[in-house]
């Protein structure tokens, strides 16, 4: 049984999805989905322990030998990302039962769980597999499920957002496929490790470069790399809040994982270094500043945090761009930490939507009186987003700044901290209106607003506590990310 963990990680949610369809009862489907989520969480923990103890796990699907058959390959990086996806995916799923009650029609709720599990299976598959074509297949599985999930949104504009995302996502996937095809033509293999070994790094083959560019741009579209981020704000804003929390916590993280995998494992840390690294740093910084500035002006809070996500992705890209073991560790830490912050923030917004039905800035006026726990969660997650000590945000910021100083990039270090100043602005404007704002007379005249139900509050506070806990006891993310980063830099695979 233990030998089969790599495939079980993907198979459990994949098979649980159609089972949810058969149950055809929202509550049962939710319980079953949670069970599947918990099982895959346990599996990912077991995998991480196994990898840390005995090194890379290679699993041959159907016992076909590696370069010909499909290999599932769990190294430190994938085990770490699998843990992020399964834990965040499961926690958000716990909140889903209450979270979607107001936002998704009753007859479609069991369908929601089917798609949710499919999407999760796809994301887990991208990370678990060691076969680049398999990556593409799982990417499509997760993307198709995501389009449908986004389209569940109550607002009619959700349809347009889903359509927009569909177009962009398909272009991204196609680019990735073109890249894969080109690489296949050069190496004759689809196995990632095999491909890395066969790839003639020192011959300046135009085809390899072309493949590289296609893949980077394709993945850049999926991860909303500035300026390819335009699909993200609409998608996050109009999707049901639970879906937004899930996507923000997992989907972009997997895209970052894929970027790291392609850059460091397939092409090698040095490939295209002089070319691509400055581009990453500049795009990352631009993303931080432009998206944060745009975020300040948003009147819809969900959209505000969507733009903030683009900015946070910028930080991760900067870490990849600096290209040292330390900076890569910063990126990996921020992967984990950002999932915790944004998961918490979007779940808190889900709670607000549940009670008020909108996330417009004016709705937040004086809301702290009525929903003290939800607003306190926003404050703590917001402080984490700013990067205040004793929260996880501080840890990743510390590593990114340290890495840029360490590689002599002082201006980058200063720009990173300046960027977090913008976060102070947009977070605190929200906190002020929640705690000091005066609610509209019309809003208060109707029934008093109550605190969100426990079904939402408990998963929300789980994430909030994680934001603080991992900001103080940093051993788990720190050790995992440090060994994953040095593993990636130490000669790739």
């Amino acid at each position: 049984m233990l030998d089969h963990l790599p495939i079980l990680q993907v198979i459990v949610p994949l098979l649980a999805a159609p089972a949810c369809l058969l149950l055809n009862n929202a509550r049962l489907a939710w319980l079953f989905a949670c069970l599947a989520g918990l099982i895959s969480l346990v599996i990912s923990v077991a995998l991480l322990v196994q990898v840390q103890q005995s090194g890379v796990i290679s699993y041959m699907l159907g016992s076909w030998e590696a370069p010909w058959g499909i290999e599932y390959r769990i190294d430190l990086l994938s085990a770490y990302v699998l843990l992020i996806i399964s834990s965040l995916g499961t926690i958000v799923l716990l909140a889903a039962n209450t979270g979607i009650r107001q936002e998704i029609a009753a007859d479609k709720q069991s369908l929601f769980y089917v798609l949710y599990l499919l999407c999760m299976a796809g994301l887990l598959g991208i990370v678990a597999t060691g076969d680049i074509f398999n990556v593409f297949v799982f990417l499509e599985i997760s993307s198709l499920a995501t389009y449908a999930l986004v389209a569940f949104g109550r607002d009619r504009r959700a349809l347009l957002a889903a359509y927009q995302y569909l177009i962009v996502g398909t272009i991204g996937a196609t680019f990735l496929l073109i890249g894969i095809g080109l690489l296949y033509s050069m190496t004759g293999t689809l196995n990632i490790e095999d491909m890395a070994n066969r790839l003639p790094v020192d011959t300046n083959s135009g085809t390899v470069y072309t493949a590289f560019i296609f893949m980077i741009v394709g993945i850049g579209l999926k991860l909303a790399l500035f300026p390819l981020h335009l699909w993200l704000p609409n998608t996050y804003t109009y999707a049901p809040s639970i879906v937004t929390a899930f996507l923000a916590a997992t989907a972009t993280k997997v895209a970052i994982y894929l970027l790291i995998r392609v850059q460091f494992s397939i092409f090698g840390a040095d490939f295209g270094g002089e070319l691509i690294q400055p581009i990453f740093i500049v795009l990352g910084l631009l993303g931080v500043f432009v998206a944060s500035t745009v975020a300040i002006k948003q009147s819809n809070i969900k959209r505000l945090f969507a733009y903030s996500s683009v900015a946070q992705i910028g930080y991760m890209i900067i870490g990849i761009g600096i290209g040292t073991s330390l900076s890569l560790q910063g990126t990996l830490l921020h992967l984990f930490n950002h999932a915790l912050m944004k998961g918490a923030l979007f779940l808190a917004l889900a709670a607000v939507v549940y009670r008020i039905g909108s996330t417009d800035r004016t709705c937040f006026n004086g809301l702290a009186k009525h929903m003290p726990w939800t607003m306190a969660a926003i404050v703590i997650a917001g402080l984490s987003l700013i990067g205040v000590p004793l929260t996880v945000g501080f840890i990743s910021k510390w590593y990114l700044v340290l890495a840029s100083i360490d590689s002599g990039m002082w201006p980058v270090a200063l720009l990173i901290v300046l960027g977090s100043l913008l976060a102070v602005y947009y977070v605190w404007a929200l906190v002020e209106s929640a705690y000091f704002g005066k609610a509209d007379a019309s809003a208060t005249s109707s029934a008093p607003i109550k605190e969100a139900p426990l079904g939402l509050l408990i998963p929300l506070w789980l994430l909030v506590i994680a934001n603080v806990y991992f900001g103080i006891d940093t051993r788990l993310p720190l050790e995992a990310s440090a060994s994953a980063a040095s593993f990636l830099m130490g000669g790739g695979q």
Partner: protein, 500 residues
């Protein structure tokens, strides 16, 4: 008492948190709530005093809590300056609590439970700052202090309070993120060590240009020291209730700022290094500029609390200047000034609050003749003013003396002139208040008889509520006593920066 210093440190930091919890739990019973605050404040002071006895006997302690990042620990240590700062803060916490009981009740403030609990959390942060073993720990609690005092600044919840709170947070958080944090990380990257070490942490071959730039970053990054141009948060913080202005924004928060600066200069850079850096002179003159400019601004303020705030900015720059002189006398003067200014300024704020509660006056121009009505308050104001100015028989004269000596020793004639001019300015903006209080100018009286803002019943004495009055008397007496018995402070201050 057989408490080990390790246990003492942890109790000192944790007890205020217990107080915060107790305050929240007893929110329905104001008397029990205030009793908890007072009891714990007193016990914290006693514990700090025990620690003081131990450090005088040469006993030190090191407590290690957790390691947040590899090599970066949250740890605490006893050291002379720490004990000095903690002694002042914990003693004044008792007095301020006493004062706050009188003030908050007679002023009918809302949300008193929130007020007392965040107050206690702030004190816990201050104690953690005082006993930090390394700059990393200090930075963490520096930020905690900023956030814990924010709800106190915006306590009133009005538009004005929000605006003040916004400036407060933006400048304090902003400077610490943009200057302090990068400087901290760079120090870690260069030296690989953030523990406070006598003589500094940097290797001898560190390029002095880097250090010079880092020093500027630290001075600007420690926004709580209110060096110009990052001083505006302090006047903004004056929207807070008076006890907050008194303890936090005349003592705890601002002193945490200059304390951080002292720790950084003495134990991260080392005094000798700072004396040689090319940016030190620039910073010294910036401090001198801050002293003069804020004194001049203070003269123009009609609002009493605003005037006191600008006076605080000026006095903080004294401390910064003394540290940056990088001489023994300067350091001694700065350490003593932390204490002397604390007692003087808190008295002045107490008086301002007492005047507000009794006569509802905030503007200085309305306070003519107030001395007849509130003689004790006005006498206290007068004595505390003397201490701020640095005249005998008050404690302030000692610290001013050593600061002057420091500038003399290092032959900074301009700075010496600045210190003396500033003392004259202090006289000009502080003394008119009690003088006009007792001898109102004719114009004030005639204005008053116009019926605009008549001081009615100025013959009958009506002082502040008794707890507040007791607090005022205690701090005033301390100002005087510190002139005659400065030895304990002096001994402690002399130990600062000396290798054990």
């Amino acid at each position: 008492m057989n408490l080990s210093p390790e246990l003492l440190i942890q109790l000192i930091i944790l007890l205020p948190l217990v107080a915060a919890a107790g305050v929240v739990l007893s929110h329905r019973h104001p008397n029990i709530r205030e009793a908890i605050s007072l009891t714990i404040a007193s016990s914290v002071f006693i514990l700090v005093f025990l620690l003081y006895r131990q450090i005088i006997n040469g006993e030190t302690a090191l407590v290690h809590w957790i390691s947040i990042l590899p090599g970066l620990n949250v740890s605490f240590k006893t050291e002379a300056l720490s004990v000095l700062f903690a002694l002042i803060a914990s003693f004044l916490w008792i007095v301020t609590t006493l004062y706050a009981i009188g003030y908050m009740r007679s002023h009918h403030e809302q949300n008193q439970t929130r007020f007392y609990s965040f107050f206690a959390i702030s004190i816990a942060a201050v104690m953690a700052i005082a006993f930090s073993e390394n700059l990393f720990t200090l930075f963490i609690f520096y930020e905690v202090l900023t956030l814990a005092t924010y709800p106190l600044v915006t306590h009133a919840g009005t538009e004005k309070a929000q605006k003040g709170g916004r400036t407060y947070l933006r400048i304090l958080l902003g400077t610490s993120i943009v200057f302090f944090l990068p400087a901290l990380i760079a120090t870690w990257a260069i030296a690989g060590n953030l523990s406070f070490t006598v003589g500094g942490v940097f290797a001898d071959d560190t390029p002095s240009l880097w250090l010079a730039i880092l020093l500027v970053f630290f001075v600007f990054g420690i926004g709580k020291a209110a060096m110009m141009p990052f001083h505006r948060w302090l006047p903004s913080a004056m929207v807070a209730p008076t006890p907050v202005s008194a303890l936090l924004h005349a003592v705890a928060v601002v002193k945490a700022g200059v304390f951080t600066l002292m720790k950084t200069v003495v134990f991260i850079f080392g005094m000798d290094t700072v004396g040689e850096l090319i940016t030190t002179d620039f910073l010294l003159y910036l401090a001198a500029f801050t002293i003069l400019a804020s004194s001049l601004i203070a003269m123009k303020q009609d609002n009493l609390k605003a005037r006191l705030a600008y006076s605080t900015i000026s006095q903080l720059a004294y401390v910064s200047l003394g540290v940056l002189l990088a001489s023994e006398a300067g350091l001694l003067g700065s350490s003593m000034h932390i204490a002397m200014h604390a007692f003087g300024k808190i008295t002045l704020f107490f008086c301002a609050g007492a005047i507000l509660v009794v006569s509802h006056k905030t503007e200085i121009s309305q306070m003519g003749g107030l001395g007849r009505k509130m003689p004790i308050t006005m006498i206290a104001f007068f004595i505390a003013s003397l201490s701020i100015i640095g005249l005998p028989p008050t404690g302030g004269s000692w610290s001013k003396y050593y600061l002057l000596l420091g500038s003399l020793e290092t032959q900074h004639w301009v700075l010496m002139a600045v210190l003396m001019i500033s003392s004259l300015l202090n006289i000009a903006y502080l003394l008119p208040i009690p003088i006009r209080g007792f001898f109102p100018a004719k114009s004030t009286v005639s204005q008053a008889s116009d019926g605009s803002e008549a001081i009615q019943g100025s013959e009958t004495i009506q002082e502040a509520p008794l707890p507040a009055l007791i607090a005022i008397i205690i701090t005033t007496l301390a100002c005087v006593l510190l002139f005659f018995f400065p030895q304990p402070l002096f001994e402690l201050a002399k130990m600062v920066g000396v290798a054990p």
